[in-house]
């Protein structure tokens, strides 16, 4: 490796090229070199997610330095830009970030008493959080509205085009025409299918084949464009995004994951992927889009740009906004953020998330993508009551949902693991095209799979009334019916309903199998809608079955009390809703947020009890079959350093069993507070790959002074060599408060106390591991020092804990890749 490389190049090299370059405190050899600055003047004016080694000293953003450095010293040292930032694929130090924020706030509050200008600044600081939430809500709402409109149009583009204006989809093309009939609600002369355009007529086998062929071709074109754009511009835009966002919110850094290009590509390719007919939804990617908006807008406010912990508060709120615009469910979105995505969720974030979700819902409503001032496609309006006996089939649906959830997670993880490790992963574009071709070819013949999944779900949720004429609602009208409201009594099923039943069963099997393969491909993909579709189909089948059973056997003992002939007792649409909730709960293991989302979707408060029953049953069954939800399973698959909130650490181990160095390892690499020269420090850094070093009084006493991070030491030494007079390799490095004056022939000494953390967390070697894990979780630590009788003994890092937990659970400890 050539010397004279710029520091940035090596920083970037850290992140990508060698497989062991994800540093851990005690990992094996790597080939990082210590670098010298080449002297080039680099322009780092872009503040977007590049490792911010800002060399333009005009923007000095850092405050007093880290915890506890007295202000007097700061008059002598200016803060070095770059100190206090983090490398890619590393965990942040929550404690440091929070105390930085507290210092900043304290300074603003103290200064605000001085003058009106400072008072204005402090008010501005307090309001900036709310202003940021407003902007996040507006931007996400606008983007979601645009995505909805474009997706609707493009989905219909596979079937035909509107001659009145090519930008109208089928429903809007025939919106004001008078040719709609009761049977064919969307018929009008302006809408031409492709067969009509190409060969002139729409009936007969040739037209069917033409439509089929063009459907498949459009689907292939859309998915090819999607995967090429993802590959060419923003590879981070693929997949759902929620596992990575969960990890980011727990303190991990993935640079570029929430950047401008990722946002743009994810928005564009999401529409393409959804329109290509693949079995995926857009809710997970919308959460990613909203978090990207949050991250980008954070750069407008210094308070959030410089502080990683504050930024994660904004991202928690942005995740709530994402679900809110996906479903039109602001409260459900906040609860989703609380339950599924966020790691720390203080009460302040609750208010802010709610505000942002509300703003986004308003924005979406004003854009009005559905033309009815509705927020979401599944708005259901029935209010029929349900009976206690029906809890039995609801619980049965919950069991089905749980079983399906566990099966789906296992199958999907196995498929993704195969994609990660075998030849399957070498052909991502080809894989997308093949899956799209299979989906399109199998989906076109069955009208229930040809329509978009959202439309399918809304049709299944719909209860059949007098005004419906679809195939599913083709019941026989027995006598002249007396209207009581819009509810009809249970009627025997007509011929079309039986046709619909077996078509739906085929659709169910198809969707169950194809979603396993689709989720995780290299296009943006979500799985809320496919899971809900599976559940809705199963629920509707059961509901129609129950309805016919009750009609033909109304004198059975279970139906006798409440279901007399001529009454409307069973509502198949409700069964579909409950089934959808059960399947989604089985896959994601959401509980409260799922119930709230479902009743915000439907507006039916009387259905809370069935929804809760089914959700709880499905969660219990799914947890019995497999411990993790789909997002945790993907986090585990990728080896992210995510310390679960919910896992119990139940073994009786002590801190000294987990800590490093073990007995066979070389002793702990430490820096002494006044005994090392610059050269020795540089050699120490070059010889090891640890991302931090404890500072001790001396090698003999091993009494702890503090802790320094590798990145900060490297930046400070490089900066000192460049800017400070006379610093050479034999200059002594001091971490003490008062440096002794040097004899005249000696080079000046380098003071690095400002970058040292004076209050590292320590535990004694006999601390039980569950307490240590609790400390890590609650405080968000990255490493913790272990002392024995007051002397430094070793160190425990988050990665060690994760590896140990993996070992206990009989998983491969080497799968933990990051620190």
């Amino acid at each position: 490796m050539t010397k004279g490389l710029c520091y940035v190049e090596v920083m970037m090299e850290n992140t990508g090229y060698c497989s062991e370059s994800f540093t851990s405190l005690q990992s094996a050899a790597s080939d990082e070199d210590m670098v010298e600055i080449a002297g080039a003047t680099l322009d780092f004016s872009s503040t977007e997610d590049v490792p911010p080694l800002d060399r333009d000293f005009g923007s000095v953003g850092l405050e007093n330095g880290i915890n506890g450095v007295p202000k007097l010293m700061d008059l002598l040292d200016e803060p070095v830009p770059g100190v206090g930032t983090y490398e890619d694929f590393n965990t942040i130090d929550w404690v440091r970030e929070k105390s930085k924020d507290r210092d900043r706030l304290r300074e603003i509050t103290n200064k605000s008493k001085e003058s009106t200008w400072h008072l204005m600044k402090s008010i501005n600081d307090a309001f900036s959080g709310w202003l940021l939430m407003l902007l996040v809500g507006l931007m996400s709402g606008a983007l979601a509205g645009g995505i909805d409109i474009s997706a609707h149009w493009m989905t219909d583009l596979k079937e035909g085009v509107c001659l009145r204006g090519f930008w109208f989809n089928h429903e809007h093309c025939c919106w004001s025409s008078n040719e709609n009939t009761f049977q064919e609600r969307d018929k009008c002369p302006d809408w031409k299918s492709w067969a009509e355009l190409l060969i002139g007529y729409n009936d007969g086998p040739l037209a069917y084949i033409m439509n089929y062929l063009l459907y498949v071709c459009w689907a292939l074109l859309f998915s090819f464009l999607a995967v090429s754009l993802v590959r060419a511009f923003a590879p981070y835009a693929c997949g759902s995004g929620i596992p990575e966002i969960k990890t980011i919110l727990s303190g991990f850094i993935i640079r570029g994951y929430l950047g401008k290009w990722t946002l743009m590509i994810k928005t564009i390719t999401l529409v393409l992927a959804v329109s290509s007919g693949l079995s995926l939804g857009k809710e997970g990617p919308l959460v990613h889009v909203a978090c990207c908006c949050g991250n980008i807008l954070c750069h407008l406010f210094t308070k959030y740009r410089k502080n990683e912990a504050k930024r994660r508060e904004v991202l928690s709120a942005a995740a709530a906004v994402g679900v809110s615009v996906a479903f039109g469910a602001p409260i459900g979105g906040v609860l989703f953020s609380l339950e599924e995505v966020s790691y720390y969720f203080p009460l302040k974030t609750l208010w802010r998330s709610f505000f942002a979700a509300l703003v986004a819902a308003f924005t979406l409503r004003s854009i009005n993508p559905f033309g009815n001032s509705r927020l979401v496609l599944f708005y259901v309006e029935f209010h029929s009551p349900w009976h206690l006996v029906e809890l039995v089939p609801f619980v049965f649906l919950g069991i089905f949902g749980g079983i399906w959830g566990a099966f789906f997670i296992r199958a999907n993880i196995a498929w993704c693991r195969r994609r990660k490790t075998t030849w399957l992963g070498h052909y991502p574009v080809l894989e997308v095209l093949v899956v799209t071709a299979v989906t399109a070819v199998l989906a076109f013949p069955n009208s229930y799979t040809r329509m978009s999944t959202s439309e399918l779900i809304s049709e299944l949720f719909n209860d059949c009334g007098l005004l419906d004429s679809s195939q599913l609602c083709n019941y026989e009208n027995i006598t002249d019916i007396k209207l009581s409201g819009n509810t009809l009594p249970d009627r025997p099923a007509g011929h079309d309903v039986y046709t619909a039943m077996w078509q739906l069963s085929l659709a169910l099997i198809f969707k169950m199998l194809i979603t396993v393969v689709t989720f995780g491909m290299k296009v943006p993909s979500g799985l809320f809608i496919p899971s809900m579709a599976v559940g809705a189909i199963a629920g509707r089948l059961l509901g129609v079955g129950m309805e016919q059973l009750a009609y033909y056997n109304h004198d059975w003992v279970i139906f006798k009390g409440w279901c007399s002939p001529g009454a409307d007792c069973i509502t198949p649409g409700l069964y579909a809703m409950v089934g959808a909730a059960a399947c989604l709960g089985g896959v994601t293991r959401m509980t409260v947020s799922l119930v709230v989302i479902m009743f915000e979707l439907t507006g039916g408060l009387e259905y809370i009890v069935p929804l809760m029953a089914a959700t709880m049953t499905s969660k219990w069954v799914a947890d019995a079959l497999g411990r993790e939800g789909i997002y945790e399973a993907h986090i585990r698959l990728n080896g992210y350093p995510f310390l679960e909130h919910k896992e119990e650490f139940s073994h009786k181990t002590l801190a000294m069993d987990i800590m490093r160095p073990r007995r066979s390892d070389p002793p702990l690499s430490v820096i002494t507070q006044d005994g090392m020269t610059v050269q020795e420090v540089e050699e120490l850094i070059a010889d090891t790959t640890y991302s931090g070093f404890p500072v001790v009084v001396s090698h003999e006493s091993q009494r702890l002074v503090g802790f320094v991070l590798r990145r900060d030491v490297v930046i400070s030494i490089d900066n000192a060599r460049l800017r400070q007079e006379g610093i050479v390799s034999t200059s002594r490095v001091f971490f003490t408060e008062y440096t002794p004056p040097q004899p005249p022939n000696f080079p000046p000494s380098l003071k690095l106390r400002g970058i040292m953390d004076l209050s590292p967390f320590t535990v004694t070697d006999h601390t039980a591991m569950d307490i240590v894990v609790d400390i890590f979780r609650k405080l968000g630590l990255r490493q913790c020092l272990v002392t024995h009788n007051g002397r430094l003994l070793g160190i425990i890092t988050k990665k060690d804990i994760l590896k140990h937990m993996a070992q206990i659970a009989n998983r491969d400890p080497d799968s933990i890749m990051f620190n």
Partner: protein, 189 residues
Amino acid sequence: MQAAGGVRLLALGCVLVLSAQLAESKNSEDIRCKCICPPYKEIEGQIYNQNVSLKDCNCLHVVEPMPVEGKDVEAYCLRCECKYEERSSGTIKGTIIIYLSVLGLLLLYMVYLTLLEPILKRRLFGHSQLIQNDDDVGDQQPFANAHDVLSRSRSRPNVLNKVEHAQQRWRRQVQEQRKSVFDRHVVLS
């Protein structure tokens, strides 16, 4: 890149402006009253659409011609359900056009990056500088390229070089991301 952010903001601005404008000027084609009337006695089910305002959106105004007469009108109208709907066709048109233009620009840029740029570079700089192609294999090449680019930029710091420098850095980032995600399957399995 700044251009990308600018384009995004522009798109966002367009959508917001359009939707604001069209909230005021309601095209008469954008409102309708839709009445769905189920089958009644011998009469088949029918759907009636008319561009009337909210106060006129009921069965008597919209259902024309009335298929029944006299006393049956009330019974027929009781079964009908009339809903008032409005939409904004301008928003739809604007959104689709913005989306297609952004998609088209991205596709053009992608074609340029993958196909045209190597050809142009080869023509301009000759074969000796072929090594500077970013998509080459080998870990060392992008750094050598970057160092060259940066040392050149020190001598001529003008806007064009800044843009090129930023673009080079962006492309390196994307290449790394691509390696992590597509080749080594480290992130985002």
